[in-house]
């Protein structure tokens, strides 16, 4: 039996703006297996980030259920949700979302502070992770002193701090040039294939296609279609693998 990490059941998200109600998600049903690399694709405004927020427990669906590791997220207490965000998921955002008052090292240690890990252990882990993403010589720089690609590497190292089983990435390459974007994608892919981390990434970036196991096309808050790896390979050939 397939090991399902993420399952959404008729997930609806409505945003209320004055008297208008905007249905950003209109009943999403997906199942994601452990160790998969999934890309959520779709035009701007189709609901990718909204779905990302639902899966990552960063917001609550208006209707429907999200199950992570078989656990219904709507039944968790505040403290359990905080622990879930701390231990189970690593978030990567388009705009990096580093804390600019903390160095690269300080950003990576923060989730470990929240997890109650000893100072010695978290320093060692942070150094190891920053080394791994190629920032061994920039550890004590503030985010403002780093390039976009380097900031995203810090964000990736931070996302890995508590050994999450899921990496959620919302357009991680959108603010980066093609080559830097490629490097970031390769890094995420490596985590996926070497450490078995499940990767769920919202993206416009066609470079993401050839590393994905499946692509979920989202349109107007609905799953339009789900493509498998073998269907993808042909299309990548057609577009020539160049993003944006």
């Amino acid at each position: 039996m397939a090991d399902i990490v993420v399952k959404t059941e008729d997930v609806v998200k409505e945003y209320r703006m004055g008297s208008n109600i905007l249905r950003a998600l209109d009943g999403i049903n997906i199942e994601i297996e452990r160790g998969e690399y999934i890309s959520l694709m779709g035009p701007s405004g189709s609901g990718k980030s909204t779905l990302f927020n639902m899966i990552g427990a960063l917001d609550r669906p208006t209707e429907g259920q999200v199950y992570i590791d078989g656990q219904n997220m709507s039944q968790l207490s505040q403290k359990q949700i905080a622990a879930f965000r701390c231990h189970r998921v690593g978030y990567i955002f388009q705009s990096y979302n580093l804390l600019h008052v903390r160095s690269a090292h300080g950003n990576v240690t923060l989730p470990m502070i929240f997890a109650g890990i000893s100072e010695k252990q978290r320093n060692e882990k942070a150094e190891k992770l920053l080394d791994m993403v190629g920032l061994g010589d920039r550890m004590y720089h503030l985010p403002d002193e780093l390039s976009g690609g380097q900031r995203q590497r810090v964000a990736i190292a931070r996302a890995l701090a508590n050994d999450p089983s899921i990496i959620l990435a919302d357009e991680p390459t959108a603010n980066l040039d093609t080559i830097t974007g490629r490097e970031i994608i390769d890094l995420i892919k490596r985590l996926n294939s070497e450490q078995g981390v499940t990767v769920i990434s919202a993206t416009h970036d066609l470079k993401m296609l050839d590393v994905s196991d499946r692509i979920v096309d989202i349109r107007d808050g609905l799953v339009e279609r789900i493509r498998n790896r073998d269907e993808i390979d042909i299309e990548v050939g057609e577009v020539g693998g160049e993003g944006e």
């Binding site: 199950y67 968790l76 359990q80 701390c86 804390l99 008052v101 989730p111 109650g116 503030l142």
Partner: protein
């Protein structure tokens, strides 16, 4: 679908850890902290100078009445005038609004940071405690400086009005003369100014921080300033 290990509860951070994070944050955003603190300093300086100026006035009128028998009767009888009370109330309002405003601005520009910390596993209570510590420290130091500046201002004004007599009858300590209005004295006013500044800063910061911490992280991170 199989049941994995159940999700445990997030731990509360030890107090020292919060203290460390808040001081680190104040240190690195030093420039910004100074501006916020300056808002507190100004508010308290204004309030303390008005209040103390009034106090000095009363003290010297009181002394005039005792030394120069009966000549000053009329002035002394007035005690705190309605106009003075209004002035103190107005400066108190300016102080409250000024501090609340500078704290609110300082917290609002950090909504994204609050959302991000929650993504990394921060509990709402931790976020509030962080802002409580930061603003408590800012509030106290800002208010102390403000109270001293206000005192200096009131002393200069007093020198202008009463000359060196000011120092003979300087109302340092509280006094409650039998036949005159109660006086708080300079030291008590400075203390009250510091406490007020700290309380205002803490409320002005923790309340918006608490509201931001209650938001789902997705919403907190959306706010652009």
């Amino acid at each position: 679908m199989q049941q994995r290990t159940p999700i445990e509860e997030q731990i509360d951070l030890p107090f020292v850890e919060s203290l460390r994070i808040s001081f680190q944050s104040l240190k690195i955003r030093f420039g910004r902290s100074i501006i916020t603190t300056a808002g507190i300093t100004l508010g308290i300086a204004f309030l303390v100078s008005v209040w103390m100026n009034n106090e000095i006035g009363i003290a010297l009128q009181e002394s005039g009445r005792q030394t120069t028998i009966n000549t000053f009767e009329e002035t002394a009888e007035q005690g705190i005038s309605t106009k003075d009370i209004w002035l103190i109330i107005m400066s108190l309002i300016v102080c409250v609004v000024g501090i609340a405003n500078s704290m609110l601005m300082a917290v609002t520009e950090r909504f994204r940071e609050i959302g991000t910390m929650k993504c990394l596993g921060a509990l709402d209570g931790f976020v509030v405690r962080l802002f409580l510590l930061e603003s408590g420290f800012q509030g106290f130091s800002g208010a102390l400086i403000g109270a001293l500046i206000g005192t200096l201002g009131a002393v200069l004004l007093g020198l202008k009005d009463y000359g060196l007599d000011l120092f003979f009858y300087f109302p340092l300590l509280p006094a409650s003369p039998e036949d005159g209005p109660m006086q708080l004295g300079v030291i008590v006013i400075i203390l009250l100014g510091c406490i007020l500044g700290m309380i205002l800063a803490v409320i002005g910061s923790s309340f918006p921080a608490w509201r931001a911490a209650k938001l789902p992280p997705a919403e907190a991170m959306r706010t652009e300033v």
